[in-house]
């Protein structure tokens, strides 16, 4: 009975003028959402299926689906265009940088948040000042510094630089985080005879886990997508990281054409990001927006 009533309600001939205008507004609103969603999704879908096409198909019919799946595009992308190598290089830089950043900043933040000592505020503000300047100002000095220290074109050099530039925000965030943790636990552990290192690693770090996770995500994305620093500090192609290698491939494309492999390369780069994003989207959205909300 109720259902029938509702159906009758929704029948077009029943629309009063008011209803109709409300219905129009509603669909207009929904249309905007659908429109933007398509604007985001369509380029990705197009990229995905185009990476299975041959060069011929890509050129002569940009919209068509692949007539046959060209899996070898991916093989060429991974091996011939070196995406595999760039991927491994990126891992070699980002994983140690991330670990080092989290280790150093959590220790420093803990001390800055929990101990009173001479120069505490000054130290905190010194780190914060690092966020004030654009990285472009430091490019030339960094290049020559790396050169002098024999760190140019080395993974160690890039790791140290990534870590150094990640410290200010990570310390800012984690100091705030450690301040919110209850101090009773800390005191209780000390009274139980634990030394301060044990307290830090066994009690405080596990408590700070949500903050560490947010910073891990935030820094991972920043480091994985970092472009200008490797562009300046990694000068040999064998050491290129992913974004740098990808940009290099695109510009090389104008001389030496293998579009299908390039499409496949971008897909290879996008799929893991997409997979990780879909699984952790909630934490990622929080981890990324945290910068704006706190800052």
């Amino acid at each position: 009975m109720m259902n029938k009533l509702k159906q009758a309600d929704a029948a077009p001939e029943d629309f009063s003028a008011n209803r109709l205008s409300r219905w129009t507004t509603q669909s207009l609103l929904n249309f905007s959402l659908v429109f933007w969603a398509l604007l985001v999704i369509l380029p990705m879908v197009w990229l995905l299926y185009s990476s299975f096409k041959t060069d011929q198909e890509i050129f002569f019919d940009p919209w068509s689906l692949p007539s046959e799946m060209q899996w070898q595009n991916f093989e060429r992308a991974w091996v011939t265009v070196h995406v595999g190598q760039y991927f491994i290089n990126s891992m070699k830089v980002v994983v140690p940088s991330l670990i080092l950043t989290l280790a150093l900043s959590s220790m420093t933040s803990y001390v800055l948040a929990r101990f009173r000592f001479f120069g505490n505020r000054a130290l905190f503000f010194l780190f914060m000042a690092g966020m004030l300047f654009p990285i472009f100002m430091a490019l030339v000095p960094l290049f020559f510094l790396a050169k002098d220290l024999q760190l140019l074109n080395t993974f160690l050099g890039l790791i140290l630089v990534y870590t150094a530039y990640s410290l200010p925000f990570t310390i800012f965030f984690l100091t705030g985080f450690f301040k919110t943790l209850p101090s009773e636990l800390h005191e209780a552990a000390l009274i139980d005879g634990a030394n301060e290192y044990v307290v830090f690693f066994r009690v405080m770090l596990p408590l700070a886990q949500p903050g560490l996770v947010a910073m891990a995500i935030f820094n991972f994305l920043g480091m994985w997508n970092q472009f200008i620093l490797p562009l300046v500090l990694m000068t040999e192609r064998e050491n290129y990281v992913l974004p740098q290698g990808l940009s290099f491939m695109l510009h090389q494309q104008y001389y030496k054409s293998d579009w299908s492999a390039l499409f496949a390369a971008v897909t290879i780069i996008m799929i893991p990001t997409l997979a990780v994003y879909v699984v952790f989207q909630n934490q990622i959205q929080k981890g990324v927006t945290v910068g704006a909300l706190k800052g």
């Binding site: 929904n30 933007w36 940009p62």
Partner: protein, 303 residues
């Protein structure tokens, strides 16, 4: 606290430097060497002439900055930053506010889906986005030119090859990738506004537009300011996307300060001058953040 406990606490306090020093020194050293020292050096380099051939830069005072004032390439790059600056933040924020309001107050289904989708470009690298859009804009392999063909364009349009269109094409990609981030940010802000405000206004007969204009916007003002500053700083940078899509071309029609700095320093070897341009870039970004915060200052509404 018992006697025993306060004794332990006292011992701990005395020994606190045993933890303060090893826990801060490594970060501090790394930060001093790779951040503070280069920024300090940059100030000095900007006052020198240095082609990288001589072992040491020569001090020339403010000559670089004088040269900069007469450098048409500098003004060309700066003008593009300014065009981005007046367009990208406003357009991005308007679209993001609109979508966020729909997702918070509309009756839309699949809200979670929309949020996840809109945000996705934010996690992709700007270089990957740049490459993807270079494909899309490409006159022969891209899909945009065939859409333009359907709409009656006779020739395929080379979006990135045409000096009149390239800046617009690059700017559009930045809006495309940025909107989702601000949608999520604004949704978080909008959800913290008490529902009772809207209910009361709705009972008084307020339209959706009124709700947005008189409740959402004033109470979201702080978040919008933050967004403005973020986007303004972004518009003074623009490096990854420009370098990937056009490298400042064609004919420097998309050159921005950051690509100009990079080109001067690492392709033309003018290290002193490039650093001076970078310092000018910093001053601009800094002045802008201060100005934006000043110009948008209102009394914060407590709720």
């Amino acid at each position: 606290m018992t006697n025993n406990a306060s004794a332990a606490w006292a011992v701990f306090k005395k020994k606190k430097y045993h933890i303060i020093i090893p826990f801060t020194l490594p970060s501090l050293l790394l930060f001093l060497v790779f951040v503070v020292y280069p920024y300090g050096q940059a100030m000095y380099f900007s006052l020198t002439k240095w082609r990288g051939l001589t072992p040491r830069p020569t001090f020339i005072g403010l000559a670089n900055f004088e040269k900069l004032l007469g450098d048409s390439l500098f003004w060309n790059a700066l003008s593009h930053n300014l065009i981005y600056l007046v367009s990208i933040p406003a357009i991005t924020i308007i679209i993001a506010l609109y979508l966020a309001f729909l997702l918070t107050h509309g009756k839309a289904r699949f809200r979670r889906f929309y949020r996840i989708t809109f945000f996705f470009p934010q996690v992709m690298s700007l270089v990957a986005i740049g490459v993807l859009w270079s494909f899309i804009y490409h006159p022969t392999i891209g899909i945009l030119s065939s859409i333009a063909g359907l709409l009656g364009a006779a020739e395929p349009i080379a979006w990135l090859g045409n000096p009149d269109l390239a800046l617009l094409a690059v700017g559009a990609v930045v809006v495309w990738q940025a909107v989702g981030f601000y949608v999520v940010l604004f949704i978080a802000g909008m959800e913290s506004i008490p529902v009772s405000y809207y209910e009361a206004a709705t009972i008084d007969g307020a339209s959706r537009w009124h709700l947005f204009w008189h409740i959402t916007l004033p109470l979201l003002w702080d978040t919008i300011r933050t967004a403005l500053v973020f986007l303004a700083i972004g518009a003074t940078n623009m490096f990854a996307i420009t370098q990937t899509m056009t490298q400042g071309g064609p004919n420097r029609s998309t050159d921005v300060l950051s690509t100009y700095v990079y080109e001067r320093a690492f392709l033309s070897g003018k290290f002193g001058y490039a650093t001076a341009v970078a310092v000018a870039m910093f001053l601009l970004a800094f002045a802008l953040s201060v100005l934006t915060m000043r110009a948008t200052r209102r009394e914060t509404l407590e709720y």
